[in-house]
């Protein structure tokens, strides 16, 4: 029972962590709570369904299932990254010098817009993602792990590792860290701020797309309103780990997933969605810098 909950929690936590990375990267660079990020994740889930449906229609899925899944994933990533890029250009870039709450309100506007945009174009009812892997799986220390779960855990781990190396080792990753530290200084040493910010949004949105598609596969049902609650949870994960810190977001996501799985199993499943909020409030009140965050004064001032 406990092992089973841990596996379920890890699956969920992996997804939260991937979404949380998008929040934490944007916050690290712009100090903006990108409220629309959860909506990008929702778009990713829809894109997964739409592109997979397209491949089914042209017969690619019956030809090769893995190929069509990979292609769907790639297309969804490109699609969501384009949305992230566009949103930044329209809704956040003009507000870069505005007081800090203006972009937050703008982000809420984007979030509402995207939710209703998807509802109007795709319908208000649940959309179904085909049940691909079935319940097949293997037993692992007394828990039943489906192939899908192991796939999600593996992909999350892979993405987190590659992001870590991207930020730590590549030139653009270095530029991102520089912009996060001091935007003006970074521009003085020749870093193109706009490119870095756009890259951040593109990467974050791509990650959210993967998370969205994995959740669509995991639960099988997708709704236009899933982005809001998932976004809040991922934001909680980011805050839990210390917003702005990439390892923190990974850690926070996994902790949140585990807490939720345990809470749903042992306390009450009705309040499943409330755990995230309670954790969020407690963390913000006790240790606003999060578990991994540097307690820079102005972070919460």
């Amino acid at each position: 029972m406990l092992a089973q909950q841990i596996i379920n929690g890890l699956t969920l936590g992996g997804v939260y962590a991937i979404i949380a990375l998008g929040y934490t990267m944007v916050y690290g660079i712009l100090e903006l709570i990108n409220f629309a990020h959860g909506e990008i994740y929702m778009l990713g889930a829809y894109a997964g369904i739409i592109f997979f449906g397209l491949f089914t229609a042209i017969g690619l899925t019956s030809y090769s299932l893995p190929l069509s899944i990979v292609l769907t994933l790639i297309l969804s990533i490109i699609f969501c990254s384009s949305y992230g890029f566009t949103i930044e250009k329209i809704a956040y870039k003009p507000l870069r010098k505005a007081p800090r709450l203006s972009p937050l309100i703008s982000a809420i506007g984007v979030s509402i817009f995207l939710q209703n945009y998807v509802m109007l174009t795709q319908g208000a009812t649940d959309r179904v993602f085909p049940y691909l892997f079935g319940a097949a799986g293997f037993d692992f220390i007394g828990a039943r792990v489906t192939y899908l779960q192991s796939f999600i855990i593996a992909i999350s781990a892979l993405l987190m590792l590659s992001l870590h190396f991207f930020v730590a080792r590549t030139m653009i990753g270095k530029a991102m860290r520089a912009v996060a530290q001091d935007r003006v200084m970074a521009s003085l040493v020749g870093i193109n701020i706009d490119t870095v910010i756009s890259t951040t949004f593109v990467i974050g949105s791509g990650l959210a797309a993967v998370a969205g598609m994995m959740v669509a596969m995991y639960y099988g049902l997708v709704n236009y309103s899933i982005g809001y609650i998932a976004g809040i949870k991922a934001f909680t994960a980011a805050v839990l780990g210390g917003i702005g810190s990439i390892p923190g977001a990974m850690f926070g996501g996994i902790v949140l997933g585990l807490v939720e799985a345990m809470g749903a199993a042992y306390i009450s499943s009705e309040y499943k969605d409330a755990y995230a909020f309670v954790i969020l409030i407690i963390i913000l009140l006790i240790k606003p810098a999060g578990l991994f965050g540097k307690s820079t004064e102005d972070r919460y001032k």
Binding site: T86, L101, I105, I108, T121, I232, F235, L285
Partner: protein, 388 residues
């Protein structure tokens, strides 16, 4: 050389600088998977023509805007003579009093709703507009007010008037309770904590079945009675709301121009400076939270009495956003602006019934556009800054 340095690039209109065809194509491609090729093609045609049109209109609009700025500045500086102000005010009041004799029940219904939202928006304005603290969970206070009256009435049989002070007091208290810990945070973190508070309240209402009857809500709430007059009749309820709305306006206006109100403005404009001149900033922020919540509690009780039914569905995050929109649309911190914002956002969806589906779509894009082009709202005051 100097001219080169002084050149200011405006990033505001960057979207108009790009090639219109490419922009339209980009949006159409983004739209394509959601609605198919035909709709994307239509969008492409509409977008490219409208961007081309708007570009040519832009220069015209710019000159118009400058002119408009001058006009609105002039409007702002016009000092209405006390007498004409007096006449305008009382004729408006007369119209409002006479309203039930002329209009149908449907319009009266909308008027009642508008009144409730005016009270709510003015309450939120105390927190967001006066004090500059973003509260994204304001609807929680509204819910607490409504549920307190609903429960007192249905479970204990207490009437509207005795339970009104209880529900308003409880709401103000809950504002206080939230504010004590939350006010250590600033800016966006405070906003998120209030959002979390709002969601927790809604989840509790939704899941505490034994007390709140969960998602089914509480029905059979009595409308208020006073000295034999039942406010069940729409026109009577309208007067009740009118009196309370006027009371709200008067009291908030008085508080705004009192020492407390000036302290709030000072905190909004510069917190460090205001604490340096001896304003007890945490205390005044607490007042703002509790005072704002107080009005939400009143609006909640009135709402419960009007609907005779409450359910968690009425108190979602979207409701918080709607109230916030009223405050921002009219102009942060300006009392007439906020009233106008509430009126617009209640009446506009009613007028545009056919476009009901697009209401939230417009609200979302409206928020973005307001933040970019008119962060002070349509009728915003002089210097209102949303600072962190």
């Amino acid at each position: 050389m100097a001219g080169n340095e002084l050149r200011v690039t405006s990033s505001k209109n960057s979207i108009f600088k790009a090639r219109p065809i490419l922009v339209a194509l980009w949006f159409s491609i983004l739209f394509l998977p959601f609605k198919g090729a035909k709709a994307a093609l239509i969008l492409f045609v509409v977008l490219s023509t409208s961007i081309v049109l708007s570009r040519s209109l832009l220069s015209y609009a710019k000159s118009l805007r400058e002119k408009g700025q001058a006009v609105s500045n002039r409007i702002r500086t016009i000092k209405l003579s006390t007498r004409s102000l007096f006449v305008a005010r009382y004729s408006l009041l007369l119209i409002l009093i006479a309203l039930p004799f002329f209009v149908r029940d449907y319009l009266l219904d909308i008027a009642i709703l508008t009144g409730i939202y005016i009270i709510l928006a003015l309450g939120l304005n105390v927190v967001v507009g006066f004090t500059g603290l973003l509260n994204l969970g304001f609807v929680a206070f509204y819910a607490i007010g409504a549920y307190t009256y609903a429960l007192l009435n249905t479970a204990l049989g207490i009437g509207f008037w005795p339970s009104l002070p209880l529900s308003v007091g409880l709401t103000a208290l809950s504002g206080f309770v939230l504010a004590v810990p939350a006010l250590r945070l600033r800016g966006d973190y405070l906003a998120i904590v209030t959002l979390g508070f709002g969601e927790i309240v809604r989840l509790v209402l939704n899941n505490w079945d034994s007390l709140t009857k969960g998602p089914n809500g509480i029905s059979g709430i009595e409308p208020p009675y006073l000295m034999g007059i039942s406010f069940w009749r729409l026109s009577n309820y309208y007067y009740l709301i009118l009196i309370f709305a006027l009371l709200t306006i008067v009291i908030i206006k008085r508080v705004y121009s009192s020492r407390i109100g000036r302290a709030w403005i000072a905190i909004r404009e510069d917190e460090i400076a205001s604490s340096a001149i001896g304003i007890n900033t945490p205390m005044y922020k607490l007042y703002a939270f509790a005072f704002g919540a107080f009005w939400a509690g009143l609006a909640g009780a009135l709402f419960a009495g009007k609907m005779q039914f409450v359910s968690p569905e009425s108190f979602t995050f979207m409701e918080s956003v709607l109230i916030l929109c009223m405050v921002i649309l009219g102009g942060l911190g300006s009392i007439p602006g906020v009233i106008l914002g509430a009126i617009i956002l209640v009446i506009l969806p009613e007028v545009l019934r056919e476009f009901q589906l697009y209401r939230m779509l417009a609200l979302g894009s409206g928020l973005v556009l307001l933040m970019i082009f008119r962060p002070r709202g349509l009728f915003g005051g002089k210097s209102v800054s949303l600072r962190s």
